[in-house]
């Protein structure tokens, strides 16, 4: 079979065998949650509850506060005990609502639809917006915004991102296997919103189970096609996935909609299904708890706001002294130092690595081996961009395309000199963004 893929990229060991065949396990409702009001890209939600209020599961506690923002809901029923600044997984502080559960898990009334035939595109978008749905692949961009391309953009395809190219993570895979029909319904919701009838699913060939399931389920669905992709990182980067599936390049500085595409993660699709058919706001998600440092690696359905510490305890705690704990995947995830950090909408994984498997690296001078040049999916010259980042030469970095970097980390991965290339590049991007905003 012909395997589609994008040029360049890397082949890290996928380490998915730890959890790939484990069905999603539902974690008990936590007794206490810390729900940050900023879990998404864009403006933080405005808090609409006060200390002392009683809230039900699914009740709005943070209201979307701008065009790019998202609603936040209570994930358990109970009493708001505190509104404070809390540490989040990225290291940033966010205002957060702390809810102490009453143990009843009492839900708000939910409006369910048996089918969405009578709903308009605007109705559906409203449901998704009210449910606080954001991209669950990691970036957490508000989904309703992504589903509202400007009128002058002609959208042709909906692409479902189920590449899950990060090593260790298997939550999307489990969703695909266990909730196949529901995700297909979700895709149809998105297609109706976008007013299109072409949907493409790309699945890497290390997830053949999911590919076969979709193949079978989609026999009578001519509008949705599933393709097998070569396992390669970063297949799940939007631009790389689009290149792999329809062989079009998103223009430099542009968005997928510029080539007529809207990309949605498969988990996000499921959240949309739950919002429309079950009336459920986004208050829980599937995540992968894995790594050789955790006793019972598993795929978990968790309520948002539960702390990493509680998850680790639920999974049988550490096997031995942990050396590194990562929120997300090993390629783009964030190393954690405080386990009181809560799970948010974009938390796809929690990985624990034992002390003796964790390495630190001394940077040595670049030997110009060009392995980063050959790995970069954006065809940049990472060694050069990193040099500019190191020396604060922002203009030079910008001229050489630093803003096109998707921060996948392939360059740092391959570097024999162990230079933190992507880190210097992110620094440059950040500085340039700050400067652009000032103008």
């Amino acid at each position: 079979m012909e395997l589609k893929t994008f040029p360049q990229g890397i082949h890290p060991s996928d380490s998915k065998e730890l959890t790939q065949e484990l069905p999603v396990n539902q974690m008990p409702v936590p007794k206490k949650v810390v729900i940050p009001l900023s879990q998404h890209i864009g403006a933080p939600a405005t808090c609409v509850v006060q200390v002392g209020d009683f809230v039900k599961t699914g009740q709005l506690i943070g209201e979307s506060s701008g065009f790019i923002s998202a609603n936040v809901h209570a994930s358990i029923s109970g009493k708001v005990v505190e509104i404070k600044d809390a540490l989040t997984a990225t290291g940033a502080m966010s205002k957060a609502v702390v809810i102490e559960g009453d143990g009843k898990d009492e839900w708000v009334d939910m409006k369910r639809y048996e089918s969405f035939d009578d709903l308009t595109s605007e109705d559906l978008k409203k449901i998704i917006e009210e449910a606080g749905i954001v991209g669950l692949g990691g970036a957490a961009f508000p989904t309703n915004v992504k589903l509202s391309p400007p009128a002058d953009k002609n959208i042709e395809y909906l692409i479902i991102n189920s590449a899950e190219c990060e090593p260790y993570l298997t939550c999307d895979y489990r969703v695909m296997i266990e909730r196949t029909m529901d995700t297909i319904k979700g895709m149809k919701i998105f297609m109706k919103i976008l007013g299109i009838n072409k949907c493409l699913i790309g699945i890497e060939n290390n997830k053949i189970g999911a590919y076969n399931t979709y193949r079978k389920m989609l026999e009578n669905e001519p509008d949705i096609d599933v393709y097998m992709l070569q396992t390669k990182y970063p297949q799940g980067a939007e631009k790389s996935l689009i290149k792999a599936l329809i062989n079009k390049e998103v223009p430099s500085g542009g968005l997928p909609m510029d080539v007529g595409v809207v990309v949605q993660n498969v988990g996000t699709v499921l959240a949309a299904y739950e919002a429309v058919y079950k009336g459920k706001p986004l208050i829980e998600r599937v995540m992968t708890v894995s790594g050789y440092g955790i006793r019972q690696p598993q795929n978990l359905l968790v309520r948002l706001g539960v702390s990493f510490e509680e998850i680790i305890n639920y999974c049988g705690s550490f096997v031995e002294t942990p050396g590194k704990i990562i929120c997300g995947g090993p390629m783009m995830g964030f190393a954690q130092y405080d386990l009181s950090v809560p799970v948010v909408k974009g938390t796809s994984g929690l990985l624990v690595f034992p002390e003796d498997t964790v390495n630190t690296y001394e940077e040595s001078p670049c030997i110009r081996c060009a392995k980063c040049v050959d790995a970069c999916p954006q065809f940049l010259v990472p060694s050069e961009l990193a040099k500019y980042g190191k020396k604060y030469l922002w203009d030079r970095a910008e001229e050489n395309g630093v803003m096109d970097c998707v921060e996948c980390g392939s360059c740092s991965y391959v570097c024999p000199a162990k230079i933190n290339l992507v880190q210097y590049i992110k620094l440059a991007k950040n500085e340039i963004n700050i400067r652009r905003r000032k103008k």
Binding site: G254, T321, Y337, L339, S364, C369, P377, P416
Partner: protein, 340 residues
């Protein structure tokens, strides 16, 4: 759950096991077949030159780093690579102290004054060789060997069969032809050196440049197995020399002996192990093609029109100098970049 020992580093948290040291070690491993071949064909003398070059390369790097108060990085094997490569372009009969001077010059002037590994503009081994050739031209062009394995001259440190290298015979004949000797004498040169001897390395010449077979063994290891080098420089470099030699290198147009020009001299060594030196060659594929073609033209011009019989060393050094410029003008097309 207080844990003060959690490590926090930026993403990615997965890295390849490859390090600068492992890359350099791979190059050393790739050079081992040719080292063995050089000792087999040229005797113990060859081993003395190689060991001298390695020892003085590593020692001068150490001394430099001590004096410059920089971290000591001699364990990264890069100086070992320089030592071996320098030895490979010296004649077996060179006195050990000249080999030592070459190694010191290669490391100190070729590498350390630029800031050490990664910052040098020129291939250090070739800097050392160029210096020796300019300073002691007689020693540098007195070829010897091959000797008979384990016989007297093989075992001796000083005694050797002096002979002219294939390319110097070619050059002399070429000069003679220009002065009026019959053009067919060029063909005789081709006939005097059998291709199988040239391929195996059973000919007089510098230590490591003669055995095409054993050089290729190592080169393929780096190219296909370790993937440290790409085809771009070796193929275009050798291809250019071969093409020009075929067109203009013979007694008449399109009658040059391609295999003679490719296998005699240091082209294979240079193309696979020196021109592909990561630090001093272009980082882009387009750039490497330009580098290879440019070096190929220079080699041919020197061999046919220049004063030296061999031009590999200077061709690479000259293209090294052009590398920053090549890199600047061969930036890859960025993903999604619309060409104006």
């Amino acid at each position: 759950m207080e844990n003060k020992k959690l490590l926090v580093t930026p993403a990615p948290h997965a890295r390849t096991s490859e390090t600068v040291t492992s890359v350099m070690m791979d190059v050393v491993v790739a050079l081992i077949p040719a080292i063995l071949a050089s000792v087999y064909f040229f005797g113990i003398k060859a081993l003395v030159v190689i060991v001298t070059c390695i020892v003085f390369s590593v020692a001068s790097e150490y001394v430099c780093q001590r004096l410059m108060k920089r971290p000591i990085t001699i364990s990264d094997y890069s100086a070992v690579v320089t030592g071996i490569l320098l030895a490979f372009c010296l004649p077996p009969t060179i006195p050990w102290y000249l080999a030592a001077v070459g190694a010191i010059f290669a490391i100190v002037i070729g590498k350390m004054v630029f800031g050490g590994l990664g910052y040098n503009l020129f291939n250090p081994a070739l800097v050392g060789r160029a210096f020796l050739l300019a300073s002691w031209p007689v020693y540098m062009t007195s070829w010897s060997g091959p000797e008979k394995f384990l016989e007297d001259k093989w075992m001796s440190l000083s005694d050797a069969t002096t002979k002219a290298s294939a390319l110097s015979v070619f050059k002399e004949t070429l000069m003679a032809v220009k002065k009026g000797a019959p053009i067919d004498s060029l063909k005789e040169v081709y006939n005097n050196f059998s291709l199988s001897d040239l391929f195996l390395g059973n000919v007089p010449g510098s230590l490591g440049e003669t055995s095409v077979l054993f050089l290729l063994l190592g080169a393929f290891y780096l190219w296909f197995y370790k993937k440290h080098i790409t085809w771009h420089i070796p193929v275009t470099y050798i291809g250019t020399v071969g093409l020009l030699a075929w067109l203009f290198g013979g007694p008449a147009f399109m009658q040059g002996n391609v295999l003679f020009h490719v296998t005699a001299g240091g082209l294979i060594l240079g193309a696979f192990f020196m021109a592909t030196d990561m630090v001093t060659s272009p980082i882009t594929k387009k750039g490497r093609i330009i580098f290879g073609i440019g070096a190929g033209i220079i080699v041919f011009v020197i061999r046919i029109f220049g004063g030296y019989p061999e031009g590999v060393c200077y061709s690479i050094l000259l293209m090294n100098a052009a590398t920053p410029l090549i890199d600047r003008y061969t930036k890859p097309r960025r993903f999604g970049e619309v060409k104006a």
